[in-house]
Amino acid sequence: MKARVIVTLKNGVLDPQGKAIEGALGGLGFDDVGSVRQGKVFDVELTGSDKAAAKAELEQMCEKLLANTVIENYSIEIE
């Protein structure tokens, strides 16, 4: 089973890397870019087949390691 975890900075948390990318896109002539926020994607392959159990386990992975919940949110997609 394949899963994708997306980790993003919470709203209101400063993202200097996103800001720099936003500036660079503007410099390339993409004038309609309002803002850019940078995040992380984790593709996780799991051996089990129980989707509900996988989701619960992935939530634990996010809480314990993949995300720092002080500053980051996460979302989980299972194929």
Binding site: V13, L14, P16, Q17, K64, L65, L66, N68, V70, I71
Partner: protein, 222 residues
Amino acid sequence: MKTAIIVFPGSNRDRDMFHALELITGARPQAVWHTETSLPDADLVIVPGGFSYGDYLRSGAIAARSPILKDLVRKADAGVNVLGVCNGFQILTEAGLLPGALMRNAGIKFVCKEVKLQTVNDGTRFSSSFTKDQVWRCPVAHHDGNYFAEADELKTIEDNGQVIFRYADGTNPNGSVNDIAGLTNKAGNVLGMMPHPENLVEELNGGTDGRLLFESLVSAAA
């Protein structure tokens, strides 16, 4: 004073810390490799600076899940003094021993320079050798030193007097909220700070301002 230093793959300020502690306490700290599961008997455990695990995932994130951290949390809960400097501060926040998080510097760049710190709380075991509001010099060298805590948490930290050191005289190098350079947990026995006091303990290196922090701890242990 008995001390121990935890060493991770990628630690690089551990030797500076060994040198500073030996110089000031007169005794060689014990080195503890990150895969060990128990810390030796010590008055002070140090989590040194560096780039543990190459800063993979987030600075300090992987180190904060290494085997020795379980015992560090146990010892910290039991009241043993813990000092985390730079990457050590990042590891302590990732491990939940200190509130908040350390993010990419607001100016994006790695900063390596000297800043000024103000000791805003001199009533702690980490700061008793300073005078209140004393401004002192200290080197910094980091990429992820932008301290952040949510408004509610920040208020609690400030109300409890947990902020010990602030960047002074407009030298905040990383955008840290409230100019926070170093803070303790609520119990006051765990301190994390981005600047490197261990790098300013000898006249040969340009000054001894950093000694006061270690001398505070020596007094507390006496």
